[in-house]
Symmetry: C2
């Protein structure tokens, strides 16, 4: 056995810690600040710990049956409201996109019919340009946080990373209208990601409840003024977002749970299920209404729901090998896609750093480039004669349909235009459709696939709200169709099914989720019998792609510098003790502290938690009393419950505070220490911190391994963990662990020798060919 | 604001703990033993904590790339094997049931055709009797743990409760063959629950890997000798069980995650998804094979997969109100079902206590009673003329089909016999079938519904492997059909769809899961368009039923006395500190302890963890070194690394132990202290506990509220938490928290005054009318 065979060698190291020599040689002054290295913007950690100070206890004890009923009622009411609002926005979104893009295509097509090709191109190009310019401008100037898909931001938030401004009202408005305009502008981007962000925004704003400035906050909402309940609401909101984008209620729920959420429990599933059910029912009712033709160009095709085939899918074991290969290549393509996208994003960030004008210019250039491609490429395809047995009008004169006329004469259609000169939703519908095995030409599909692949990569990074889901589905579907044509008559599956499997493989290769993608695709295509094949494809493509890089959202999240806390420990974390990473000067407060000291400490550090230690005059030896949060200290100072001598606070003074003051403020709503003025006299007074201190913080002993401390930190969802010494007699607390201390960059920076050690990265990875680029 | 308005009254209590007066007046000598009040069988807790002793560290450090690859390879190999074996057993199970029950029904029907009614009844009754007797006998005498569904046991295991014998080889064998025989015996029981238990058993046995006695344990499996990896395997196994029972891979996975698992993470979803995909593919291949007719009577209907309808389901808002009412009543029925089942189980437990013979007699009586009912009731129904446009042969002469002849003449059929004198799978198929709105009579359906409802309640508790899923689906489907008939032509939904919704409502009312039931029913009926209605029905029925009692598995689990750790804290736990519940004499060991003391302590307590404290001669003041587990102490004593004087262990002595000795043994495989003999001389010697002690146990301060400690205990998955004093100078550890200390029974027993306090049960509940019974 390996452990025994080299037992002799290891025996010596048993009594020696691994890194003793380097200990305390590095000063890490940021270890109390929850923010990450490269990006110095004030990203804060969320705190899911129950801060058990006297005020919190008072609030708990005061909660009777009525309060608990209020709380439960509000939870369900908010879940219901999230469902209603998100589904209405999702519907409005689709309605607007279909109508705006529809009018654009109808006008252009009519000009094409009249053979006024250059006028058609001008109309097409200019409308796309304007539709791109609008979201680019509002995103740049009103809310830069609304750019991109938003899924990485929400995922980071649900992991406990609070990036500023991501859930503000401005972001919501920009996200909704920006997304509509950007999607309608024929940019090669999706609407699912922005819908997720929209859902999360709505959930956050509802939980925050109105404007505090105008005293509109409903007092029943005060129970939601903590990070735990906000987290639950935002999880439901993001589930509702996907549910509304794809009309996939169960898929949306599972996506939120599998991909987005870092913490969840049965009760949350159940409430999120309620939210997505509300979404499903409202969307169904609205679509029923639209079927009667009152929604303009929305028509039947609005919300994507591709009915692949209603006949039984029969496939045999002989169909499995091509599907395996499809999954394998799909995984490779997905990993390559992620790699390229990361490179392009890095390139774009250089451009974007140079100011808002450059961002907008970039968006404009991409729009012009896209218009040229979409209008120009179909000319490369030769016209095909309409099939005699076509199930629908050929060529299609209206907006959607399998057979676009474009420049062809009557009785013919342009297969490439049917895909490329169309909305993405319609392109997917064309690719997924059955009984159309001979519709597309080799050359057209190859051109379409390559266009999709590269155009979606260069389009994602522009400064507009932009999703990745739909572009990835289109690209994957065209890839699947190609495989289907390659198989020809050797397979029992028709090309539409190959397109579905291709989409699954490419989604698996980029997004890397399994169950939720499976269910989303099932709900999109309404075909359960494909399930086993879909599962195999997803498994293979995810496995293959995982060998090369991470999923696309994690890549974007890391590029943005969010300190995402992984669920698993890196191998070298087992070798390090907690004491190896917490170093630097620890700032502690006395149980009864001088106001001046507190103010000095708050102004000169950015720490968010301070250990409170009762020092000898108040106790026999220094005793750790607890941990006090910066926000609570500021509230306390604002109350000015000071006394001239060090003494315990009496109940009169306590009475001037209410538990509500100590509730967690929404992101960006907290006061800053710089806003409070103190007189010299006040600074010399004392304040009793005991009633405001969390008297039972979670602690770990300094000899605990970092991996084990991570389990506590991650599972319980903490912001601070106090590190206590192994031996008594020294200071009762030796440090504070924060999210920052678990970040690999921080640890490897503290202990560069780990970079060369064999524990650095033991995870299984193929020698990454992509690193050669 | 409420908190403010009574702030004055609460202000006084702020500085006073709630229960000071009662503190330490109650001696709780069992607080270190993880076992529950009423049942004194040795139920142990599982331990998901990383025990960081020197040996563990050695093992971790010794793991290089090769070991990690071994571990990863084994994880996937085991997931694959679980899938393969569970699907083969599931298929075998169905094949056997369909053939045994099929032959029985064919023989009986042939006799009925020949009008030899009493002979038919004799054959039917006697074969049922024998088929019931066999599982009753083997369950009673070979493995009583195999009785019932097994889902409560697996659920408790995944929560950290290790009941003895539930995953032994005997249990597996009894479960498989007992379930086949019992289901074939026309007892009104299901096969899904036993399949879940079978899957979990297989996963556990595979992870344990062969027999240790015969040295067959594969050394690559040593990485799985801990509770964390076993938990993961068993989660996958139970997912595979449902997947195989219903051929619902995604539904099975979600059921395992939503209902069974207490802990899970993304990586686990992904591996369990792989397992259920393997199940789906193998089952598909086997069924393809059987479609060629080589599986006897298995035929097309074997594994349940009810193709409800392939045409589009159209429904409008007017269909929603009846569906809401259906869900509401379904919830009431489900709650009533749970209530009755709990009562019957309590009654049966009185009978079962009187020995194996009584249990078997009970099973026999139920079998005879069932046979009489199934054979007798159809005589009450009048014969109906076959419809002219029947889609299939009428009357059906073979085994399955919608139109059973029973006693009727040619050209007629007995609708009640079509349901009741049939396997449950076929009854469900008949109820779910479309275009059969006029097939059933009012009277027949009412009789059938009542029979199902009460017969399944009395059948579940008999001493055979018995599931609840299928009986609940049958009962719910007949209820749904009744509602459909009541609606008549007022609804656009056909009666088959009403049956599906009825099954959903009754499942929601008893099982109380949402997403997984939704997906299981979708996979069973292959109709995605029903999804929104199904979601609404499940939501309503669960909400209604939750107001009355718990879900059926939790009721059974509590009746069995498993100390299940809930995810949420009871309101009164916020009022108690950890110090209020840990009392009683604490047993601590010295860092270097006399062998005699250890042996004495192990023999005279049943504690599973002991704090190790370094006392003054070895340190300046008493210092908490860590926590040592009973199992590790026993290994240490077995190694006899004693020294005559108190001294640290040298590396020679350490070398005689290997990390593998300290791996967690499988359930029931550990040694007992009673098995080891010590000489007088040895008892007077000393042993150094330091290298074997977990030097970084999780600790909480004694003033932490119980609710907050529960968060740590539950989220991290602990077995012991050390309680440290607030003030230093006293003993460095004041107690140990175990699972037992969080059980409401234990707490209310310690502090009876809480029973009368307003915090006792603040959870929202309707005044339970059932309590009047």
């Amino acid at each position: 056995m390996a452990a025994e065979s080299n037992g002799g060698a290891d025996m010596e190291s048993l009594t020696q810690p691994l890194l003793r020599s380097q200990r305390s040689s590095v000063i890490n002054s940021t270890s109390q600040v929850a923010m990450v290295g490269a990006n110095v913007c004030p990203i804060e950690s969320l705190d899911y710990e129950i801060a058990e100070n006297d005020f919190f206890k008072q609030d708990w004890r005061a909660r009777g049956k009525v309060q608990i009923l209020q709380y439960m009622f509000m939870k369900w009411l908010l879940s219901f409201l999230i469902g209603v609002i998100v589904s209405l926005i999702g519907f409005f979104n689709n309605l607007a996109v279909e109508n705006i893009a529809g009018i654009k295509f109808v006008v252009t097509s009519n000009m094409m019919l009249a053979k006024r090709y250059s006028a058609a191109f001008l109309v097409f190009g200019i409308s796309n340009f304007v539709l791109t310019l609008f979201p680019a401008v509002i995103t740049s100037y009103v809310s830069p946080a609304a750019a991109g898909s938003g899924i990485p931001e929400v995922k980071a938030y649900l992991n406990g990373v609070d990036a500023p401004g991501i859930f503000s009202l401005q972001t919501l408005v920009v996200k909704i209208f920006g997304s509509i305009s950007a999607v309608a502008s024929s940019l090669f981007i999706g609407k699912a990601g922005p819908m997720v962000h929209t859902g999360a925004c709505i959930a956050s704003l509802l939980g925050q409840g109105g404007s505090k400035r105008y005293r509109l906050t409903w007092k029943w909402l005060r129970y939601f003024k903590n990070d735990r309940d906000r987290r639950d609401l935002i999880t439901s909101g993001s589930a509702a977002g996907i549910a509304a984008a794809f009309r996939a209620p169960v898929g949306g729920l599972l996506f939120a749970l599998e991909e987005m959420a870092s913490w969840w429990r049965s009760a949350l599933i159940w409430r999120a299920f309620f939210t997505t059910a509300v979404v499903a029912i409202i969307l169904r009712a609205l679509i029923d209404f639209c079927l009667s033709g009152k929604c303009g160009l929305f028509g039947k095709g609005g919300l994507i729901m591709y009915d692949v085939t209603s006949t039984d899918v029969m496939y045999h074991l002989s169909d499995v090998p091509p599907v395996l290969i499809l999954g394998f290549v799909g995984g490779l393509l997905g990993a390559f896609y992620n790699f390229l996208l990361a490179k392009v994003l890095r390139l774009y960030s250089l451009i974007n750093e140079k100011g808002a004008i450059n961002k907008i210019l970039l968006a404009c250039w991409i729009s012009i480039f896209t218009s040229c491609l979409l209008f120009g490429l179909p000319w490369l395809a030769s016209c095909k004669a309409c099939p005699a047995d076509a199930g629908e009008a050929c060529p299609t004169i209206g907006r959607s349909g399998n057979y676009k006329k474009f420049q062809c004469s009557y009785g013919e259609y342009n297969d490439l235009a049917s895909l490329i000169f169309n909305t993405n939703d319609d392109a997917i519908k064309n690719l997924f459709s059955k009984d159309t095995d001979s519709e597309f030409q080799w050359s057209s599909l190859i051109i379409f696939f390559l266009t999709c692949f590269f155009l979606s990569i260069v389009s994602y990074g522009v400064i507009v709200p932009a999703g990745l889901f739909v572009p990835v589905i289109v690209t994957g579907a065209s890839y699947g169709r190609l495989v289907g044509m390659l198989m020809g008559s050797h397979s029992n599956l028709n090309h539409g099914l190959f397109a579905v499997l291709g989409a699954a493989s490419f989604l698996g290769g980029t997004m890397r989720t399994t169950v939720s993608l499976c269910i989303i695709l099932l709900e999109l295509t309404n075909n359960l019998l494909l399930l086993p094949l879909m599962m195999v494809v997803l498994l293979i493509s995810k496995t293959v792609a995982d060998a090369f890089n991470e999923n696309i959202y994690d890549i974007i999240m890391k590029a943005k510098g969010f300190p995402y806390l992984e669920n698993h420990a890196e191998p070298y974390m087992r070798q390090l003790t907690v004491g190896d990473v917490v170093t630097g000067p620890l700032q502690t407060l006395n149980g009864i502290e001088k106001v001046g000291n507190i103010v000095y400490m708050l102004r000169n550090t950015r720490h968010n938690g301070f250990p409170v230690v009762d020092e000898p005059p108040m106790s026999v030896s220094p005793v750790l009393f607890g941990l006090i949060l910066r926000a609570h200290l500021i509230e306390l100072l604002k109350g000015r419950a000071f006394s001239p001598t060090p003494e315990y606070m009496d109940s009169d003074m306590l009475g001037q505070f209410s538990a509500n003051d100590f509730a967690k403020k929404g992101s960006g709503h907290g006061d800053s220490i710089e806003d409070i003025e103190f007189s010299e006299e006040e600074l010399a007074m004392y304040v009793d911190l005991h009633p405001f201190t969390n008297a039972s913080p979670y602690t770990v002993v300094e000899t605990m391994s970092l991996a084990k401390a991570l389990v506590l930190f991650r599972e319980v969802g903490l912001r601070h963990v106090l590190v206590i010494p192994k031996l008594s007699g020294r200071s009762p607390v030796v440090g504070i662990l924060t999210r920052h201390d678990f970040m690999p960059e921080h640890i490897l920076n503290l202990h560069p020798s780990l970079l060369r050690s064999r524990w650095k990265r033991l995870r299984f990875q193929f020698p990454s060919i992509f690193k050669l680029f």
